[in-house]
Every structure is written in structure tokens, then in C-alpha cells.
């Protein structure tokens, strides 16, 4: 018997296989099903999927909270109403009292208000880090996938080198390189790590699109290259990218906490962020573990929400599970 040619990924490197997994997700968007659009059939199954609904509920609640938090919070998160109660030796973290149901932090600021308002910065960090990562990946991936040739090879080699460093470690390094850490250096560090993943994902998607019939049709009708890329290929290639973005949102929020924990986050804590609150609560873990537990619980719930949504979206868009 002759060996079948399409047998396993032959002698591939781990990076290539990691890439292949991303590419498999990418090609999922190219699959079409007679009559029913991918999005419609996915939505039909998602509507009845409890995992997706729980994730969606958490996400919607989180975004709603972030929008109305300033009006919900009883105190200004930067004000220090309980400053007089802070005793560095005997009582470093004031406990609950009238008007302050969760007590205060080590600087006498109302903890409940900081948690509520903290949702804003947390959402901002997650969304911006994902957005910039997506943007970078979009530019590189579109270039590589639409132009091809040596640009494709060059971009993909850079992407492979970036993927060969453990991603969180790379984020730590990038954040540590900033002489003056701030919210922005943190966001950029997390975003940069996501660029190669998005780039590879989008390139795979674009390649699948380039070979598809509607692009061939557009080309034979004499549609300009630019219009083909931006009107016909890109919109159709975005599906798996959106799935990945949902998952990255969760990762970004968790990673932001890790960076803050290492002292690589935003040193200015007048506008609270959950990861930062968790990072800064570490010295008081012995006396006041609640100072860490509340922001940690918030992060876990929100990250779980995005993950549940992303995973069920991925499953719904995967042609293998479609029925």
C-alpha cells in the first residue's frame, strides 16, 4: 500500500503545531453550509446553550456595572473618609462600619466604592489591551494573508519568534522595560503579546478566503484588489478573530493583575483597577485578607464570564460540532 499523503503533520515543530491549531480555527470560518449562514446557525444553538447564557449574563452585568458605577458608588474612590481610622500598627485596614459596608483600604478609602468604580478601569484595560493586540494582529495578518510572497514569510517568521517565548513572560519583560510604569505601559505589554496570535489567526482566515469562490468571482468581475481585501475577504475572515478576542479579554484582565502583583502595573491608584487592588493588597494578607479576596472574586467572575462566552462561541462556530 502507498502511504497516504495527508497523514499527520509531518515532523512539524511545536510552534508550527501551535500555529496549526490557530489555523484550524481560522479555516472554520471558511466553511459554508447550504442555506443557513454560519452566524445564524451558531446563534440558534447558542440561544439554548446554558454555558453561553451564563457567560453572556456575567459579561452584560459587568459592562452595565462599569457604565453606572460612578453613580452607584457611595464615595469618591480617591477620597479618604476613613483616614483617621487607619493605625499602621494596630489597625492598618479599617473594618466595616456605618456607611462603609466593606470597610476601607489601607489608605482609608471606601472599599465598596473602589470595587464598584474599579470595574471601569478593569474593563478599560481588558478592552484596550485586546483592541491594540487585535489591531496589530489585523495589520500584520492582513498584510501577510492578502499580499503573500516575501511579506508573508517575513511577517510569519517574526510571529514565530514571538510565539517561542512564553507569552506571560514576554508581557512581564515588556512591562519591565518601561522606565515609568503606567496604565498604558501595562496595556501595551499585554496587547503586544497578543499580536502574533491574532496575526496568525487572521492570516489563516485570509488565506482561506483568498481561495474561496466569492473572491474568485469578485476578481473575475474586475473588482480592485483593495476592495476585494477590505470588502470581501476581511469581513468574512473576522469570525474566529472575534472568538479569540473574547478569550483574550479574560486573559488581559488576569494578566493585568499578575503585572500589578509584580509591581509592574500602574503605581497611581487614585483610579482603582481590580488587578491593581489585588496586587496592592498583598502586604495586608495576614491582617486583612478580605482586601485581596474581594477584587480577586470580581476578577475571577468576570474572567470566567468572558471565558465561558468565548469557549461556547468557539464551539458553535466550529464546523465539526455543527448539526
Amino acid at each position: 500500500m502507498t502511504p497516504t499523503p495527508e497523514l499527520p503533520p509531518e515532523r512539524t515543530t511545536y510552534a508550527e503545531r501551535r500555529s496549526q491549531r490557530i489555523d484550524a480555527l481560522a479555516s472554520a470560518s471558511a466553511a459554508e453550509e447550504g442555506g443557513v449562514s454560519l452566524i445564524k446557525s451558531a446563534w440558534r444553538r447558542l440561544r439554548r446553550n446554558p454555558v453561553f447564557l451564563v457567560g453572556l449574563a456575567i459579561t452584560v452585568a459587568f459592562i452595565a456595572l462599569a457604565l453606572v458605577a460612578p453613580w452607584l458608588a457611595p464615595w469618591d474612590p480617591a477620597a479618604r473618609p476613613l483616614l483617621d481610622d487607619v493605625r499602621p500598627q494596630s489597625n492598618p485596614v479599617p473594618g466595616p462600619e456605618a456607611g462603609h459596608p466593606l470597610g476601607a483600604d489601607d489608605k482609608g478609602r471606601d472599599l465598596l466604592s473602589r470595587l464598584l468604580v474599579g470595574s471601569q478601569q478593569t474593563l478599560l484595560v481588558g478592552v484596550l489591551a485586546t483592541f491594540f493586540g487585535l489591531l496589530g494582529g489585523l495589520v500584520l495578518g492582513t498584510l501577510a494573508g492578502a499580499v503573500g510572497g516575501w511579506i508573508d514569510s517575513l511577517v510569519m517568521r517574526i510571529v514565530d519568534v514571538m510565539l517561542s517565548i512564553p507569552s506571560l513572560l514576554l508581557a512581564f519583560t515588556l512591562a519591565a522595560l518601561a522606565t515609568r510604569p503606567s496604565q498604558w505601559t501595562l496595556i501595551i505589554a499585554i496587547a503586544t503579546v497578543q499580536v502574533p496570535i491574532f496575526a496568525r489567526l487572521l492570516r489563516g482566515s485570509m488565506l482561506a478566503q483568498r481561495a474561496s469562490d466569492h473572491v474568485l468571482a469578485a476578481r473575475s468581475l474586475g473588482v480592485k484588489q483593495r476592495a476585494i481585501v477590505f470588502r470581501h475577504m476581511l469581513p468574512n475572515a473576522l469570525g474566529p478573530v472575534i472568538v479569540q478576542a473574547t478569550l483574550v479579554l479574560a486573559v488581559a484582565i488576569i494578566d493585568a493583575a499578575a503585572l500589578s502583583f509584580l509591581g509592574l502595573g500602574n503605581p497611581d491608584d487614585r483610579r482603582p483597577e481590580w488587578g491593581q487592588m489585588l496586587g496592592k493588597a498583598q502586604p495586608f494578607l495576614g491582617e486583612a485578607p478580605h482586601l485581596a479576596f474581594y477584587p480577586a472574586a470580581c476578577i475571577i467572575v468576570v474572567a470566567l464570564g468572558f471565558t465561558l462566552m468565548g469557549e461556547s462561541l468557539r464551539e458553535a462556530l466550529d464546523p465539526k460540532t455543527r448539526r
Partner: protein, 336 residues
């Protein structure tokens, strides 16, 4: 097989070289750069210029890089400025390596020992409470920041219930003989059983904390992979032939389902290296992760450079080993 390994080794050297260029350029492009890091507040323009000349920083960047590499191949990566001031950066790496290897090894053992059997069971009993519970547990595991898992474990098991040691690798006052620097192994080799037991007790909490994310990933890949294989025609054929459940399980299902899992285990080394930075900080373990955390925070660039390149090299090397293991498990790859 030999050519395959050789080709991969050359690729690995390439990746590490490109990486060293990137790290080098990054570090040199910083505002202030190493001179500011060394001089700190005391930097007058004259002193800066003198130090820049002494360090060769007035040369063009490519020349600087070649000089750096020239010293690097001789094992001279510069001297630590903050982690252990005055100490050779490469020496710090080797001194810290055993602690991290020991911790990561135990974490990986825990992740594999729980992840693969549970993933298999969950797939076999898809939809049962066992499946649902473990899937939810693995999803939550990924959502919890690693250092917070460490804190929870430390807070309850060490501080509140006093079951296990709070931090470090060994109880103070315990005088153990060092052979390899892997404390548990040392204790076994020298038959100092109390030392081995003590070191093992110190390892439990950090290893469990570090294992959460690799466990979750290995579990989910195993489950998905077994589910895929159970659907295959050859499993149905095997069942139709009347093979015993045991043979089907071992030869057909597990053997095929394990392939993607092996790759995943290799990729988890990345999560272990990143996680070690956080876990070692939480449990005050003097390993590479702890040194990295200090280097990140205090901007100790020589140490940072060595550790990042070494971490990437380890990551790439482990994945090369995984690829070789892959070829051993899957004869289809070997024979081509």
C-alpha cells in the same frame, strides 16, 4: 531521526539568536539605559559619558552586540546590578536553576497525574455530573490568577490550619547535605529522610498552585481528544470485532488520543516558567522566577537578559524533546 533532531537543533539556535538580538536592542533602546540604572540619582553628564565609554556604549549598536555576543559565548553575560549586586549573571542563573526545576517538575507531575486520567474519565462519562464538575473546575482554574491561587493555599493550609510550611524550600535550622541542589532528591540520595520529607512538604503548596493552569489545559485537551477518538471508525470497528473493552481502551483510544496531549504538555512548560515568577514570589522560593521578579522590578538588565534568553531556550528545547517523544509514540512520523 538524527537529521530531524539536527535540523530542529539548528532552528533552535536560530530562534535563540534572533531573540538575543531583540532583547539586546530593546534593552539598549531604553531611555537612560544601563548607565542610568547603574548610576541612579548620581548621574552627572561627565560621569555618564565616562561610564558609557567604559562600558563601550558609545560604539554603534551592531558593534556593541557583537562585543556582547563575543563575551557571551565565553560565558560572560555581565554582572548583576540589583538581584545580587556584583555577582556574575550566569552564575545566578545556575544557582537558581535547581529550585525552579524541582518546583516545575512536581507541578507538571501533579498536572499530568490529575489532568490525563480525569480528562479521560470525563470524556468516557460525557454529560454526567463527574464530567460537568471537572469541566467547570478546569474553567475556574484558568480564571484565577496564579499568584492568588498561591495565596489562597498559603492562607488556608499554612496560616489558618497550620498543616504545611508557609514559605521557603526547607525549614530553618535543618542541616542537609547538598548534592544536586534539588532538595528532595538530595535527601533521598544522602538518605537524610527527614530532610527529603521536609523539602517535600515545602513543595506541596507552591507545586499545586503552579499546577492549576497546566492541569486545566491538559485536562481539557485530553477530554476533547478522547471524545474525538471515541467517534472514530476504527474504535467502532474494534468494538464490532468483539475486542475487550480493555484492549480498545489501551490500544485504540488512549494511544491515539494521547498525541495532542503530548504536544500540550510541552507547551505547558511556558505556563510553568511564567507561573514560576509568580509562585516563587508568593512562597519566597529562591529560584529563577524569583530572580526574574526582582530583575523586572528593580531593572537588573544583565540578569534579565540571561534569564529571558535562558527561559526561551529551555522552552524551545523542551518542545524539541516533546517532538522527539511524539515521533516515538507515533510510528507514522518516524517511518517517513
Amino acid at each position: 531521526m538524527l537529521r530531524f533532531v539536527l535540523r530542529r537543533l539548528i532552528q533552535m539556535v536560530g530562534v535563540v539568536l534572533v531573540l538575543s538580538v531583540l532583547v539586546f536592542v530593546w534593552l539598549r533602546s531604553l531611555p537612560g539605559g544601563p548607565v542610568s540604572a547603574l548610576l541612579g540619582e548620581r548621574g552627572t553628564p561627565e560621569r555618564r559619558a565616562a561610564l558609557e565609554k567604559a562600558l563601550g556604549l558609545d560604539q554603534p549598536l551592531p558593534v556593541q552586540y557583537l562585543r556582547y555576543m563575543e563575551r557571551a559565548v565565553q560565558g560572560d553575560f555581565g554582572v548583576s546590578t540589583k538581584v545580587l549586586p556584583g555577582e556574575d549573571a550566569l552564575d545566578i542563573f545556575f544557582a537558581r536553576l535547581p529550585a525552579t526545576i524541582e518546583l516545575s517538575f512536581f507541578a507538571l507531575v501533579i498536572a499530568i497525574a490529575l489532568g490525563i486520567p480525569l480528562g479521560y474519565l470525563a470524556a468516557r462519562r460525557k454529560g454526567t455530573p463527574l464530567d460537568t464538575t471537572t469541566v467547570i473546575f478546569s474553567l475556574v482554574g484558568v480564571a484565577v490568577p496564579v499568584f492568588f491561587t498561591g495565596f489562597l493555599l498559603k492562607y488556608f493550609f499554612a496560616v489558618e490550619w497550620n498543616l504545611l510550611p508557609v514559605s521557603g524550600r526547607q525549614s530553618t535550622g535543618l542541616d542537609a547535605t547538598r548534592v544536586t541542589g534539588l532538595f528532595v532528591l538530595d535527601g533521598i540520595l544522602t538518605r537524610e529522610w527527614d530532610a527529603a520529607w521536609d523539602a517535600l512538604k515545602h513543595l506541596v503548596l507552591p507545586a499545586v498552585a503552579l499546577a492549576t493552569i497546566p492541569f486545566a489545559v491538559i485536562f481539557r485537551i485530553t477530554r476533547a481528544s478522547v471524545l474525538d477518538v471515541l467517534d472514530e471508525d476504527y474504535v467502532r470497528t474494534a468494538e464490532a470485532k468483539g475486542l475487550t473493552a480493555q484492549v480498545i481502551r489501551g490500544r485504540h483510544v488512549l494511544r491515539n488520543a494521547i498525541l495532542p496531549v503530548v504536544t500540550t504538555v510541552g507547551l505547558q512548560v511556558g505556563a510553568l516558567l511564567s507561573g514560576a515568577v509568580l509562585t516563587e514570589t508568593v512562597f519566597s522560593i529562591r529560584g529563577i522566577g524569583d530572580a526574574l521578579a526582582t530583575a523586572f522590578r528593580d531593572k537588573d538588565y544583565p540578569v534579565l537578559q540571561v534569564l529571558i534568553i535562558a527561559a526561551a531556550a529551555i522552552y524551545v528545547l523542551v518542545n524539541l524533546l516533546v517532538d522527539i517523544a511524539y515521533a516515538v509514540i507515533d510510528p507514522r512520523i518516524r517511518t517517513r
